[in-house]
Symmetry: C2
Subunit: 233 residues, 2 copies
DNA sequence: ATAGATCAAGTGAGTATTTACTCACGGCCG
DNA sequence: CGGCCGTGAGTAAATACTCACTTGATCTAT
C-alpha cells in the first residue's frame, strides 16, 4: 500500500492531528508510535522522519495546543458590566457542557490533555491556565468589580480572580464527569444542567438573586453566545 | 538477596500497597510490573504468584479502594440543619484541600485514581460517586431542604442533589490543581483558600449571606472537623 | 531428639511479544 | 539524474508472564 505523495508540512499536520487524538484518548504511556502511524495512515518510519522521538511529538502537541487560542475572543469587546459577567459565565458553562455532547473533538482533546497534566507535572495545565487568565481574567475581574459597585453583587472575602478559578473548576470538573460514554453523575438534560450550573456559579461569585434573575434569563434566551459579532469558526 | 519469609496475606497487602502507589502516580499504562515488584521489594515472579495478571492487580486495587469508606462517618450523626450543612461543606472543602498539602497519601491516591477514571471508562468514578452519594447525599439534601425552610437558604432551580455535585466538582478540581509539586493556580494560603472556597460553595448552593456569616465563622473557628467524637486515624 | 518427608514462600533465569527507533532501498517529480 | 517522500524489514531494549529450582519452617515416624 502506497500513500499519496504530499508536502512535508501537510503531512506534519496530519500526523499531529492523529497523534493528538491518540494521546488525548490513551495518555502518553498508553499511546504507541505504531498506533499513531496507523491513525495517520502512514508507516512508522515516516513518522520518525518528521519527529525525532515520541516525546518530541508529544511536546509539540502540547505547545501547539497552548498556542491555539480558546475561542473566547469575541467576549473581549464587551464593556465590563454585570451583563458581561453573566455572559462570560454562561458562555463558559455552555462551552464546557458542549464538549461532552457535541462533536467538538478539538476541545475534548484539550480537556483530556488538561486533566492528564494535573496528574503529571502540571506544566501544560499551568500554561493553559495562564493563557485563559490572560484572555478573560481581566475582563472577569473588571466586570465583577463593576457588578459589586452597581449593587448587582456583594463583595466576598475571596479575590475576584480566585472566584473566577472556582467557577472554572466547577465547570471543568462537570465536563470531566460527562466525558465517559456513560456519564459519572446522572444529571438531567443539558439545557437544565446549563441553567443550574450558571445559577450556582453566579451566586457563588457574589451576584444577587435579583441580578441573576434579571440577567441570566435574558442571557439563556438567546442560544448563540455571540451577541456582538456573527463570525464563526 | 533473599527477602524475609512471611504469610501470604501480609505479602498480598504489601504488594497491593506498593502497586497502588505506582498506579496512582503513573497510571495503568505507565506502570510496569517490574516497578511494582521493586516498590514491594520482591521479585517479579512472586508478584505473579499472588496476582494472575497486571490487569487483575489493578482491578483489585480499584475495588478495594471502592470498598474503603471515605472518612465521613462522623457527620451522619448530625441532625439536618443549616449548621450541619455548613459543617458538611466546610468539612468537604478542608478534606480536599488537605489532600495536596498533608502526607495524606491514601486520599491522594484515591484522587488520582478518580481523575484517571474520568479519562478512561469512568466506571471506578461512578462507583465512588455512588458511594459518596450514599454516605452524605441524603444528609446534604435534608439539610439543604431544612435550611430553605428555615429561611437560611433560597430555593434554586437546581435539584439539591445536583447542587451537592456542583460543590463536589469545585473542590475536587481545586484539589487537582494543587496536586503537582508546583500548583497549577497561584492561590494564597491554605487557610484563606479554605474560607474562600467554602463561601463560594455555600453561596452557590443557595445560603443567604446572613447564614453564611453566622455559621461559617463559627465552623471555621474550630479547627478539628469532628465535633461529635474524638477518634482519629 | 533427629532424620527425613512435605509444602509453601521466594527467586534467577528465562520466553515471546511489544516498543521506540533505524536503515537501506524504491519510486516519483523537476 | 538528484533529491525527496515513503516504506519494509529490521534491532536492541523493555514488558508481561513462566518455570525450574532453592530455602526454610513444620510435621511426623522412629
Amino acid at each position: 500500500m502506497s500513500t499519496l505523495r504530499m508536502t512535508s508540512d501537510l503531512r506534519r499536520q496530519l500526523i499531529l492531528g492523529a497523534a493528538k487524538r491518540c494521546f488525548a484518548r490513551h495518555g502518553y504511556a498508553g499511546t504507541t508510535t505504531k498506533s499513531v502511524a496507523a491513525a495517520a495512515a502512514i508507516s512508522e518510519a515516516l513518522l520518525f522522519k518528521h519527529f525525532p522521538s515520541k516525546a518530541a511529538l508529544y511536546a509539540e502537541i502540547l505547545t501547539e495546543e497552548c498556542e491555539t487560542d480558546p475561542d473566547f475572543e469575541v467576549l473581549l469587546s464587551q464593556e465590563p458590566s454585570t451583563a458581561t459577567l453573566v455572559m462570560l459565565m454562561a458562555g463558559m458553562v455552555r462551552h464546557f457542557l458542549g464538549i461532552a455532547d457535541g462533536p467538538n473533538e478539538e476541545e475534548e482533546q484539550r480537556l483530556r490533555l488538561m486533566a492528564s497534566s494535573h496528574l503529571d507535572d502540571g506544566e501544560f495545565a499551568r500554561l493553559l491556565y495562564a493563557k485563559i487568565d490572560d484572555l478573560i481574567g481581566a475582563k472577569f475581574v473588571d466586570s465583577l468589580v463593576t457588578a459589586v459597585a452597581s449593587g448587582d453583587a456583594v463583595r466576598l472575602v475571596a479575590a475576584p480572580r480566585d472566584l473566577f478559578w472556582f467557577a472554572h473548576h466547577t465547570v471543568l470538573m462537570a465536563a470531566l464527569t460527562r466525558l465517559p460514554s456513560v456519564p459519572c453523575v446522572p444529571y438531567g438534560t443539558a439545557a437544565s444542567l446549563e441553567r443550574q450550573l450558571s445559577e450556582f456559579i453566579l451566586r457563588g461569585i457574589g451576584l444577587t438573586d435579583a441580578a441573576i434573575a434579571c440577567y441570566l434569563d435574558h442571557e439563556l434566551s438567546q442560544p448563540p453566545v455571540r451577541p456582538a459579532t456573527a463570525e464563526s469558526a
